[in-house]
Symmetry: C4
Subunit: 200 residues, 4 copies
C-alpha cells in the first residue's frame, strides 16, 4: 500500500521546526549573580554565532527537503526510512552546535574537536540527502511526471559536493577552528544566494 506525501511532510516539518527551535535552549543564560551580565553576554558570542549558523543551516536543509518532496507524488516504505535517516541527522545538529558554542572560545584542541564534530554532522546531513536521492533515482515511479529526468543525478552530485565541502571545512578546522566556523557561515550564505532563483 502506497500513500501520498502528507504525513511524511508533517513529520518532516515537525522535526525541522523543532530542531531549529531547540537551538535556543543551548544558548546558556549566564549565571553572574554579582558579576556583569553585559560582559558575560559578550563573552558568549560563540553561542549566538552557533545559533545563527545552525538555524540558517537547518533552514537551508529544509528548503532542500522541500524541493525534494515537491517532486515526489507517491511514498513507499523505503522512502519513509531514507527520509527518517535525513531527519535523524538533521535533528542531531543542536548537539554539535552546543559543542562549538561551548568550546570555540577556548581555542586549542577542544575547539578543533568541536568544530570537526560539527563538520562531521554536516557531512552526515549532506550524505543522507545523497542516499535519499539515490533511492528516488532507482524508484522513479515515486517521482512526479513533471520532475526533470536528470533531477536525481543532479541532486546526488550536489549532495556529494556538500559532503566534500564540509570535509574540506573539517580539514580547515584542524588549522583554525574560527576560520572553519566562518566557512560554515559562508557555505550557507553561498547556498542561499548562488542558487538559480527559479528553482524552489
Amino acid at each position: 500500500m502506497t500513500q501520498g506525501t502528507d504525513r511524511l511532510k508533517a513529520l518532516s516539518d515537525g522535526v525541522f521546526a523543532i530542531a531549529a527551535t531547540l537551538l535556543v535552549i543551548e544558548v546558556a543564560v549566564p549565571d553572574v549573580p554579582r558579576g556583569d551580565l553585559l560582559s558575560a553576554l559578550r563573552h558568549e558570542w560563540p553561542s549566538f554565532a552557533g545559533y545563527a549558523v545552525s538555524f540558517a543551516v537547518i533552514g537551508v536543509l529544509w528548503v532542500n527537503h522541500n524541493a525534494t518532496v515537491a517532486r515526489v507524488v507517491v511514498v513507499d516504505r523505503g522512502l519513509l526510512f531514507w527520509n527518517l535517516l535525513v531527519l535523524g541527522t538533521v535533528a542531531f545538529i543542536p548537539f554539535p552546535t552546543a559543542l562549538v558554542a561551548k568550546y570555540l572560545g577556548d581555542g586549542g584542541s577542544n575547539a578543533t574537536s568541536a568544530t570537526v564534530g560539527y563538520a562531521l554532522v554536516m557531512m552526515a546531513c549532506a550524505a543522507s540527502f545523497a542516499t535519499l536521492w539515490l533511492y528516488l533515482g532507482r524508484h522513479r515511479e515515486l517521482l512526479a511526471e513533471t520532475c526533470e529526468p536528470h533531477a536525481p543525478q543532479v541532486a546526488v552530485r550536489r549532495a556529494l559536493g556538500g559532503v566534500g565541502a564540509y570535509a574540506a571545512t573539517a580539514l580547515l578546522a584542524l588549522l583554525d577552528p574560527l576560520l572553519a566556523v566562518a566557512a560554515f557561515f559562508l557555505l550557507t550564505v553561498a547556498f542561499v544566494f548562488a542558487e538559480r532563483p527559479a528553482k524552489v
Copy 2:
C-alpha cells in the same frame, strides 16, 4: 518552480508553537528542599511575568504572520528565506525572556542589560517582518489578487513603527527596567485591542 503556501505554513506554525511552548522550560522549578516553596514561588514573579508577556508577544506575531501569509498565494525561494529570517528571530525570544526572568528581580545594571536585550530581540522581530513585506512589495506576483494594493507599504510602515516602539522601550529600560517590562506588556495588549476587528 514555485509552490503553494502549505509547507511554509507548516514550518512556521511549528516554530511559533515550539517557541511559545518552550518558554515554560525557562520557568525554573525552585530548589528549596527545606525552605518555603510558597515564598520561593512569589520571589519568582519575573519568570511568570516573562512567560505571560513572551507568550502574548509570540501569539501576536503569529497573528501577524497569519495575516501576512493569508495574502500570499505563491511561494518562491526568496520568500522562503525571508520567512526563515522571521522564524529565526521569533525562535530566539525564549533566550531574552530567560534573561529578564533571571535578572529583573536583581535591579541594577544587570536588570537593565537583560531588558535592553529583550527589546533588541523584539526590534529584530519587527524588522524581520518589515523585510518580509518589503520583499512581498517587490514581488506582487506572489500576493493574492484580493490583497489590498497598499498592503505592503502599510505593513512595512507598521513593522517599522514596531521597531521604533521597542527602541523607545530600550531607552526606557535604561531608566527603569520594570517600567520597560510594563511597556512590553502594554504594547502587546494595545496591539490586541487597538486593531480594527475586521482585519484578521
Copy 3:
C-alpha cells in the same frame, strides 16, 4: 478578513503536542553514580505519576479543543486571541507538574503549595475554555450551522464545572496533597468514561 480554521488548528495541535511531550523533560534522570538506580527510580514515583496525570489532562483538553473547533467554520481575530489564552494556559502545565513531581514526596507545606499550584493552573485552563465558548456564544456567525443551538451555554457551564471541581481539589490539597493528586487522576478518568460516546 476572516479565514478558515486551518492555521488555528495547526498552531493549537503544535502547542498541545509540545506541552504533552515536554513533560518527559521534567522527569529527572537520577544521578546515583555509586548508588542504587532501582531504588532511586522507585523514589521518583511522583514524577511518573505526574507525567501520566498531566499527559492525560492535556490529552483530555485536546479532545475538548477538538470538539470546540470542529463546530467552528470561520475564524476572526477575537477567536485567535481567546484561543491563544487557552494555549497559554495549557502550555504552562509542565511547570506545576514539575512542582508536584519534586515536592509531593516531601509531604508537608511544600507538597501542599505544589498541589494547590497545580490546581490553580487547571482552574485557569478550564476558565480559558469558558471564555472561549463565551466568545463563540456571542459570535454565532463563527459556528457551523449544524452546531447545536445550546452548545455554547452547555460548554460554558461544563467549563465552569471544571473550574469548580479543580477548586474543590485545591481545598482537598490543603488537607492532603496525595488525595488531591488522586482526585486529579480520577477527574481525568471520569471525563474519559463519563462522556456520552456519541459526542466527539
Copy 4:
C-alpha cells in the same frame, strides 16, 4: 459526532516528531574546561548509541502508526483516547533512553536496571498498539472498506509479538545489558528490512 483523521494525525505527527527530536537534549555536552573533549566524547558513546537506537525505534513506531491510521476513515472519541495512550508511551521514550545513556557505561546492576527500564517502556509501546488495534477490531465501522478483513487480528498479533520480543530483551538485560542494547538495535533493523515492501 464523528470526524476525519486530520487532527488525530496532526497531534500524532507532532508528538512523534517532538519525542524523536528531544532525544538530542539528553545527549550531554561534556564539561571538560581543561580536559580532553575528544576522549570525553568517545567516553559518551552510549549516548550516541541511545540517540540512534531510539530515533530509529520512534521512526519505526511512526511508520506503524502511519500504516494504522491510513486504514482509518472515521475517528470516534474512543479512538482518540486509545491513540493518546500510544502517544503517551511513545513520548516517554526519551526518559529510558537517557537512563541507558547515563548508566550503560557503568556496567553492573545500574546498567541492568536502565536497560530493563528501556525494555519495559518498549513493551508498553507495543502493548499500546495492540490495544489500539483491539479497539479498531471491535469498531470496524471506523476502518476503510479497502482495509484487509484480517488486518486487526494480524496487527494485534504482531504487536503482542513485539511485547514478547522486548520481554525477551529484558531477560537478556539481566545477563548482559550491552547484549540487550544490541538486541534493541537488531530488532529495529529487522523490522525495517523484514517487512514485505508492498505494505506501507
